[in-house]
């Protein structure tokens, strides 16, 4: 009997302690840890919809505290946006994603609440807050199992919406209009028959000589497009030069080898060469197998092309496109077999290597203009003149900014500071 009573007492004590551990909750309504304890939310501007930005600005002393953000929708459904964010991060975005496309619906009213805590938020406490019966309608201090949680008041209703125009890109629209205007003006000028000048580019004048000499020696020509993809502008520029070079190759009735890094580039190069040969009246000389795929491994490609150079001993090597660390490995090998080398790239880090190892190097924009130079059609020349005018415009802008900044920050003159900031803001995207 005594035994049974004792057991009962032990059981009672145990159940009370368990019970109390589960439900020790003290609630102090409307209490806040500091003045202005709140979070704010707004629709993310200039986005495609389905996104709300929640921000908070707490004292620096709370930087290492955690903040958990909850959301309530119009129907009263509660859900967790994010748990245990560092207070110092100052904002979080509640957005729909591919995995959860209907997380934030446009046009629906949402209300947000933040929970500030020193320790990571307790899961039971969180579940209690978001359960439909309790809700988290009341703000204040909750002490749950001796941990303190500060709950903010609900934000006002926030509605996410999609924007029809990205206002932050207005400077881009203005530049777009300006650029289009300049281009159209010069294209019209070219159409009306006005002669436009393009300066001499030695590297491009040498194309004819390189192809000619290679033919005389009975050697093929090698055209290397680098390791760019067809989405890279330098690769596209390389392909336009390839078209001109292969036309010369067809006229001289010699052979062109194009080892490729990317299959899409290879297929495009095949089409470009085929078309150029047809245009030159020698479609019979075109051999698809001369434009081959090597590998999509940077140094594997370099090894493959180097090996091909050593075996085929081309008389002229063109390196036109996007090059990285393999640039010198290719160019030095080309030099060692005594080929005339004409290189061009937009990668400024590789230009010194090309200049050192090649006979001619097209520096950046010269390469972009190469196709125009080799064809010299009036419309094409018009576009180059337009580029030049834009360049002058940018130079003027740089000089203005430079002078303004000297007066603004060198001599500390207020009005120039305002002007400088205005200019900087106008150019910011």
């Amino acid at each position: 009997m005594l035994k049974r009573t004792l057991l009962l007492i032990v059981f009672l004590i145990l159940s009370i302690s368990l019970f109390s551990e589960n439900d020790s909750l003290i609630f102090l309504e409307n209490q806040t840890p500091f003045e202005g304890f709140a979070i704010t939310g707004k629709d993310i501007p200039n986005d495609g919809g389905g996104g709300i930005e929640i921000e908070w600005s707490f004292p620096d002393s709370l930087d290492n505290f955690f903040l958990t953000v909850l959301r309530k929708d119009e129907a009263g459904n509660n859900s967790i946006v994010a748990t245990d964010l560092l207070v110092s991060s100052k904002q979080v975005r509640d957005v729909s994603s591919e995995e959860d496309p209907s997380r934030v619906k446009d046009g629906t009213k949402y209300y947000y609440t933040g929970i500030l805590s020193k320790k990571m938020v307790d899961e039971d406490f969180l579940n209690m807050l978001i359960s439909k019966e309790n809700g988290y309608s009341k703000n204040g201090i909750y002490i749950f199992n001796n941990d303190t949680f500060y709950v903010t008041a609900e934000t006002d209703a926030i509605i996410s919406k999609a924007s029809w125009f990205n206002l932050s890109r207005i400077p881009v629209v203005i530049s777009l209009i300006l650029i289009s205007f300049v281009f159209l003006y010069y294209l019209n000028l070219a159409k009306s028959g006005k002669e436009l000048y393009i300066r001499k580019i030695n590297g491009l004048d040498a194309v004819e000589e390189a192809v000619g000499r290679s033919t005389e020696m009975g050697k093929p020509i090698m055209y290397i497009l680098g390791i760019g993809y067809v989405t890279d502008i330098p690769t596209i520029a390389g392909l336009t030069i390839l078209s001109r070079v292969s036309k010369k190759v067809a006229e001289y009735e010699t052979k062109i080898l194009v080892p490729s890094y990317d299959p899409v580039v290879m297929t495009t190069a095949q089409e470009v060469v085929k078309e150029a040969f047809t245009e030159a009246g020698r479609p019979d000389l075109y051999n698809k197998n001369d434009i081959m795929y090597i590998t999509q491994d940077q140094f594997g490609y370099a090894a493959g092309v180097d090996g091909m150079m050593m075996r085929e001993k081309p008389g002229a090597v063109f390196l036109q496109g996007l090059f990285f660390a393999e640039s010198l490995i290719l160019a030095e090998t080309g030099h060692s077999i005594g080929a005339i080398q004409i290189s061009g790239t937009t990668e400024t880090a590789q230009l010194p290597f090309f200049v050192a190892a090649c006979d001619y190097t097209l520096i950046g924009e010269e390469m972009m203009a190469a196709s125009v130079y080799l064809q010299k059609e009036p419309m094409m020349l018009g576009s180059i003149a337009a580029e030049d005018l834009l360049k002058v415009f940018i130079m003027v802008l740089i000089i203005v900014g430079f002078v303004l900044s000297i007066f603004a920050y060198g001599f500390n003159i207020g009005i120039f500071k305002n002007l400088f900031d205005l200019l900087a803001r106008a150019l910011q995207v």
């Binding site: 989405t231 299959p263 795929y293 230009l351 050192a356 520096i363 924009e365 576009s383």
Partner: protein, 212 residues
């Protein structure tokens, strides 16, 4: 009008314009166009890989069949290619990932690809030496200036420079941040405008040399 080259030029113009417009409109369906077209490109590029493999293997098969000079290396390539693909598939099935610690694919990676790539890259050290030796001659004033700067930077970028004079690395840093940057920014501006020009020429159909 819309025949021959007209159709592809029209498609290029249309797609170019849509991409430009979608840059400014985040609203559906415009906002997702960039992402969708990048995904499409990935899918198409994946299939063209087959063309690439066909080109590579085809070329070496032909060499092998004709018993061309160096046909043995073509055999090595074909065997190496097949072995890597087969091992990769088997190990992916076995471990869930080809790069498991115990997988033979990791073995191929560690003991073939790593040393081969490192070897090719380290060739640069040698090629830089021979190219620099040939190129850096004090032919005229400009070349002399380049030569002196090159030597200063080469010394300033290694601990040896610090031992010669503590000012050398600081001076090198200045060369890198000021004159070097100025030149690069200038070239960069030209390149951006050039890229703009190429794009506009292609979108407007003025440049058509890339079309077949």
């Amino acid at each position: 009008m819309l025949k021959g080259k007209g159709i592809p030029i029209f498609i290029t113009f249309l797609v170019g314009m849509i991409m430009i417009i979608s840059f400014f409109i985040p609203h559906k369906p415009f906002g997702d166009i960039e992402k969708i077209s990048l995904n499409w490109y990935s899918i198409i590029a994946g299939f063209t890989m087959l063309l690439g493999v066909d080109s590579l293997i085809g070329m070496h098969f032909r060499k092998l069949k004709r018993k061309d000079e160096n046909w043995f290396f073509s055999l090595v390539l074909i065997l190496g290619f097949t072995a890597t693909v087969v091992v990769g598939i088997i190990e992916t099935v076995r471990f869930g990932t080809a790069f498991d610690d115990k997988s033979y694919f990791t073995y191929i990676y560690n003991y073939f690809i790593v040393p081969l790539q490192s070897t090719m890259f380290s060739l640069l050290a040698f090629f830089i030496a021979s190219a620099a030796y040939r190129a850096f001659r004090a032919r005229n004033f400009d070349a002399t200036l380049l030569l002196i700067t090159a030597i200063i930077v080469m010394l300033g970028r290694v601990p040896l420079g610090e031992q010669i004079s503590p000012y050398l690395p600081k001076f090198t840093e200045w060369i890198m941040q000021v004159p070097q940057m100025a030149a690069k920014r200038g070239i960069g501006l030209g390149i951006s405008l050039g890229a703009l020009g190429v794009s506009i020429r292609i979108i407007l159909g003025i440049e058509r040399s890339y079309l077949s």
